[in-house]
Amino acid sequence: MISFSPSEEQQMIVNVVKQFATDEMRKVYREADESGEIPARIIDAAWGLGFISSSIPEEHGGAGSEHSTITGSLLAEELAWGDLSMAMHTLCPTLVVLPILEMGTEEQKRKYLPAFCREKYKAATAALMEPRFNFDPYSLSTTARLDGGNYLLNGEKCYVPLAADADLLLVYATDNGSNQGFILEKGASGLEIGAPEKNMGIKALSTYELALKDCRIPRENRLGGKIGCDFNRIMNCSRVALSAMAVGVARAAFEYSRDYAKERVAFGEPIAARQAIAFMLAEMAIEVDATRLMTWEAAWKLDRKEDATKEASLVKMYADDMAVTVTDRAVQILGGHGYIREHPVELWLRNGRGFAAFDGMAIVYKEIQHYD
């Protein structure tokens, strides 16, 4: 039966995160963007809300509630409304936890999941993007080759968030023509992590290039063992999560510029009293809502374990464009003041511009320059 209302429990989560975002994230986001660093207490506090461990089965130390992509989308929107860098930092471990949870072998679950049920934040990340022109996640250059009881990984990855701190790294590579995930532990031999990358936005999230040179890992570390993983589903989950975050960023920009437009007076009236401004705001409101509903629908499909490639791709594309348009309009509504780093809208525009380039898990500003 069609319904657009989150469950009570979901609404509670939204309220808690919204409060946290307002009280904590919104207080420090500017400083974090300028310094490139997120205060550890914020990440620990976000972690302390327990959203990641909640869907880990009890036998592996979690709370054992079933993972819901819809709940995940609600959560991601609120966190991103607070700040995108912090949201991505907080949720980064899910790039490893969720694939292991859904597709990992029993052994992999037992070995890796308990570490994410502890009190302290545990960094983990995934490496998908590759630093080359015309990147396509469905034809990776990074290879995995069996060599006796081990896999040898070779290739280059970029925009890997938190790579330097991560205890676990899920590397995607082609294994005999199929895309598979490989679990690397910190300090794996043949894994070289570069210097932090410098990006236009999401500056408080550190991302890295990495090189894999005959990186040797045990055969058991292939995600899902013999069966492997459903790469497409992982991509779709990530598209939905990114769309939810795009909604959060755009909503932040909409709300801020709406409030500003009611305060700012020009020609004797608040600028919001002019249709040129009011209609921009109306369109922003409509598009934010529409994208959220599309995100929910794709998430709902994923939760039913159906193929959501179409829905996830459509909403991702829509959300990419929406995030740029809405954040740009927000800057426009603030005029010259929007361009100054005292107001958050320029930051949201820089962050919002990123979505079109993330397919999969990483940030690719390079791609933008080539294709947009």
């Binding site: 069609i2 009293a273 529409a290």
Partner: protein, 397 residues
Amino acid sequence: MIDFELTPEEEAAVKVAHKAAEELFRPISRYYDEHEHESPQELIDTLWEKRGEVGMLSLSLAAALGIEELCWGDAGLMLCNPGPSLGGAAVWASGTPEQRDRFLKRFNKGKPKWGAMAMTEAGCGSDTSAITATAVRDGDEWVLNGEKIFVTQGKRALEDSDGIVVVWATVDKSAGRAGMKSFVVEAGTPGMRVEKLEKKLGIRASDTATIIFEDCRIPYENILGSPEVRKLDKTKTAGFQKAMATFDATRPIVAAQALGVGRAALDFVKETLEKEGIEIRYGLPRNKLSALERDVMDMEAHYKAAKLLTLRAIWMLNQGQPNNLEASMAKAKTGLAVTRITQKAVELMGPLGYSRKYLLEKWMRDAKINDIFEGTGQINMLIVARRVLGYSRDQLK
């Protein structure tokens, strides 16, 4: 709990309507586009017989989904569907139980009948507060005078059946909006006549009438809502607002109509591409997609966005939640989305798009009305803007 699954009854409603669209609407679609003002009598009789099945009276989700399907068949023909329609919706929204009974019961029996709504005048469309038609009380009657244009199914309601038309008129010009009232006029009432039928860009099967009222007398009890003129402060126009609440129910329905036309065009494009062996590769990064694929995906995404906003507005209505904002969001988005989708489809299909051998060009013409009636795109944006800003009509004009 967020859910997108249709109930079995809703699924069934979609199926029944889709079958009707394919079997009853599509085959005669071109004919009635080219023979404007001719009445599709056979279809009308069939729809009247089947009206229970398609459920046109209620504003349920199933009904809205059914309407989308019928408009996928043909939006002009769908508008010919006998039933209480917009006039009925107004009676439903602001009439007393006695009025509902008196005016709506007829739609359950006898021959096909129509309900219509007459608001627009030559001098005012969007600005409904500028209505000049008058209603003057004379004992236990109201006397109506004025001219209404663009009345959908006006002729069918008044000349071809014993239907009703809900007429908007002012009882006190000096009172502005507060003086604006709606009245039910029944077919056969003396002093009222259909003057002409318009020739249109699209939805040609639907009649669009000019109706003239000259000392047209109706019973005093035919006024919808309170006869009282409350001169409150200008920002509060409660009586008017209540009547305007009809739109909260009808806008999502018009949005559902629009979706049908948009999807017809989208399906045509996808079927044509499929025949040509062109596959839309969802899931590829955008740098790998062809321009055509991106266009089609873009059309699909806009359709989906519009559809979900529409479903939400109807769902809220059925939940008894205020949906004024969401109804206008749905209408504004959908009207523009299907206008663009159909125009893009004609472009993408090249000669197949422009040729009258196919229905696509017709759908482009049909789609455009959705950005105009039940509040133009701009008027709905205005409502959304006022809502999100918390502004009154006076604060945002």
